[in-house]
């Protein structure tokens, strides 16, 4: 980026980002330094890409006019802890309105690709049209600036995410990789393709330890465009740590923000896995397609129980002190680490274990690993499978697919393989389409076409206004369980004020664990921007930019044909309230109706004129 001002809020056009646009049909490419329109553009990520997506009217995700935008955030590649994020944006094949229009979507992941990409000198890559043949894209740092080349990728076709990365690693030193798996290659029948991002541990240990930009099928969009991989090749460009950044990084590690994510061995909470213990106290761990049974069955996946039989090691992305990856491996007879299996983050762990009736950690790990290697979004895949299992439980006389039921490891494994290989569109196209086809939509756990995360909707009506799925684009998931808030005022305030700010992390290039409760409108971020980039920006300016970006996302949903009736939780939640959940009921029809009225009253006036 080029900075010709120190005041990005007042003079955004004096900050320029380098964009490369590639026409995949002709192979033509152009580079440009683009002046930022506003602070959202400066911050980057979806704050920028959604403004570009809003300029296009797209009716089908798989059309040549739908771009795939790859970009970074202002602090990607900086010395600020967690500054590793890459963003993939486009109109989504999986998330869409009932009018049949695709929703704008972004997806993000860590690993080291984002920093390497930024260090090539490029800030954004836009892919137009589609390539006739499979290609991979190499972005290289040169003395004359970033260079981009398209290369034939037939040799990569059919390989898993991990195998693609291993194959590319042989040819590119000092590089990191963003790849799709077979799921993305089979985009016609699989709308939930993810993009796998290589990690330092993966390249060194040759184990499948990618991070994933999973949500919204951006890997399928990449597959449609016939791009199998991106290679970012550059030297490392960490600035020496300033005192200010040292202090911020220390705060991130020692402060409240990430304490629970740190490894137990360092006095931390052991990662997101710890959510199991807490949610179980409320009988709110998703079981058998989001129907907790009020028993102790989820306890089998408590860390203390898994640790007895498996080796668990905390690892991190390069130079990140948060160390949020809980990697689970087989345990040898002598107690040493055996074969690596998978990462145990709360989401995939729950959705591939307790929520599909699997209570064996090893089996869950194998299923997670399988889905990761095919390159599918763990949330969409897990939830679509749990829907199918639930259907079969309800219709034992006329089951669908292979007749799999909760806990049937072998048959569930078969479903994942078939979905990954593109032979099972019923699963690959997600729970909304499957449930509509079967005419049983009430227990399909998606909101606006995107499967929900492993937090019971009964605990989070905020899902309704999440603009990029699940809890990570609307931070209200702890309002009831953690804060005990069950009154309307708290929920209106949470959704329309504080908790929407979680999306700021998907602009600036940092992980949410940097400061998950406060977002990016903080003195810590202000200090980082000053120290790293000599930018003077206030917390108020940042918060205003994040809010505008969020509202733009909401406005785009409405423009893509969502009716207000589609802003809703799965019907089962209010039609058949789960009495086992030991929390106040905040998802009754009455409560939700009041909440909807109040929230829209606040948001609607602000949506007007956003695209003028």
């Amino acid at each position: 980026m080029k900075f010709q001002t120190t005041d990005p809020a007042a003079n955004p056009t004096a900050i320029l980002y380098k964009r490369c646009t590639i026409d995949l049909r002709s192979g033509d490419m152009s580079f440009a330094d683009i002046p930022c329109r506003n602070l959202e553009d400066v911050l980057g990520g979806f704050g920028r890409s959604f403004q570009d997506l809003a300029e296009r009217e797209i009716e089908n995700a798989y059309c040549e006019e739908n771009p795939l935008i790859v970009n970074t955030g202002l602090l990607t590649g900086s010395s600020v802890m967690t500054g590793m994020r890459t963003y993939f944006s486009g109109y989504s094949p999986i998330k869409g309105s009932k009018a049949g229009l695709p929703a704008a979507m972004w997806s993000t992941g860590s690993g080291r690709f984002g920093a390497k990409f930024k260090w090539t000198g490029l800030d954004e890559l836009i892919f137009e049209n589609r390539s006739e043949k499979p290609v991979y894209v190499v972005i290289t740092e040169t003395d004359a600036g970033p260079q981009v080349a398209l290369k034939p990728a037939e040799h990569l076709f059919g390989l898993s995410t991990h195998d693609k990365i291993m194959a590319l690693q042989k040819g590119y030193a000092d590089a990191h990789f963003a790849v799709i798996g077979q799921a993305g290659e089979n985009w016609q029948n699989n709308y939930m393709g993810a993009v796998a991002l290589s990690t330092e541990n993966q390249l060194k240990e040759h184990e499948d330890k990618s991070r994933f930009a999973g949500r919204g099928g951006m890997g399928s969009l990449m597959g449609y465009k016939n791009i199998l991989a991106l290679v970012a090749q550059s030297s490392d460009k960490f600035k020496p740590l300033s005192e200010a950044i040292k202090q911020v990084n220390l705060n991130v590690i020692k402060g409240g923000g990430s304490a629970r994510i740190q490894p137990l061995s360092r006095g931390g909470g052991g990662g997101t896995w710890a959510a199991y213990d807490v949610l179980q106290e409320f009988h709110a761990v998703p079981v058998n397609n989001f129907r907790p049974q009020g028993n102790d069955i989820p306890e089998q996946l408590f860390r203390e129980n898994v640790e007895k039989e498996y080796n668990i090691k905390s690892q991190a992305c390069y130079r990140c002190g948060i160390t949020c990856h809980n990697n689970i491996s087989e345990k040898n007879a002598d107690g040493s680490k055996g074969e690596f299996l998978a990462k145990f983050d709360y989401e995939p762990l729950n959705l591939f274990s307790t929520n599909i009736g699997i209570h064996d950690a090893g089996q869950a790990a194998r299923l997670i690993q399988l889905g990761d290697n095919y390159g599918m979004d763990a949330i969409s895949l897990g939830v679509t499978i749990s829907y199918a299992l639930s259907y079969n439980e309800r219709h034992p006389e006329k089951t669908i697919l292979n007749g799999a039921t909760f806990g049937d490891y072998e048959k569930i494994r078969e479903l994942i393989i078939q979905a990954g290989e593109g032979t099972l569109p019923e699963i690959g196209q997600g729970s909304m389409r499957l449930s509509q086809r079967l005419n049983e939509t009430s227990y399909a756990y998606h909101v606006k076409g995107l499967e929900i995360a492993a937090y019971q909707p009964e605990t989070n009506p905020g899902y309704i206004w999440a603009i990029a799925g699940g809890h990570m684009s609307m931070g209200t998931y702890g309002l009831l369980t953690r804060e005990g808030k069950s009154d309307l005022e708290s929920w209106v305030r949470g959704i329309t004020e504080d908790k929407l700010h979680i999306v700021g992390f998907d602009m600036i290039g940092l992980c949410k664990f940097f400061d998950i409760t406060k977002g990016i409108g903080t003195q810590m971020v202000v200090d980082c921007l000053k120290s790293e980039l000599d930018l003077d920006v206030s917390t108020d300016d940042i918060r205003a930019a994040v809010r505008r970006a969020f509202l733009r996302g909401l406005a785009l949903e409405l423009r893509q044909g969502y009716t207000k009736a589609e802003f809703c939780l799965p019907a089962e939640v209010s039609e058949n309230p789960n009495q086992n959940i030991k929390l106040p009921n905040i998802t009754s029809r009455e409560f939700i109706e009041k909440l909807e009225k109040r929230v829209w009253e606040i948001f609607e006036p602000e949506l007007e004129g956003l695209f003028d």
Binding site: A259, A275, D277, E281, E304, T481, I502
Partner: protein, 74 residues
């Protein structure tokens, strides 16, 4: 007075899962946290008799106290 204390997740390590414990009348949740030396940075949720409470809540005879670490997305 007797309070039934349940610890969740990492708070159990080196302590206990659930126990009846003897406390003087008028004790607050914070006093129990201090007595058990629970790491403050992980302190998240308190339930007294199944209802969310805070560290200043005064406990009474026979209360059931649950202390949980923070849970925060991911």
């Amino acid at each position: 007075m007797v309070v039934n204390v349940k610890l969740v997740g990492l708070f159990q390590t080196g302590r206990f899962k659930q126990k009846d414990r003897e406390y003087p009348a008028g004790i607050k949740v914070q006093d129990v946290i201090n007595e058990l030396k629970l790491p403050q940075q992980h302190f998240g949720i308190v339930l007294v008799n199944g209802v969310h409470a805070d560290i200043d809540t005064v406990l009474t005879e026979g209360d059931h106290l649950v202390i949980m670490p923070i849970v925060d997305g991911g």
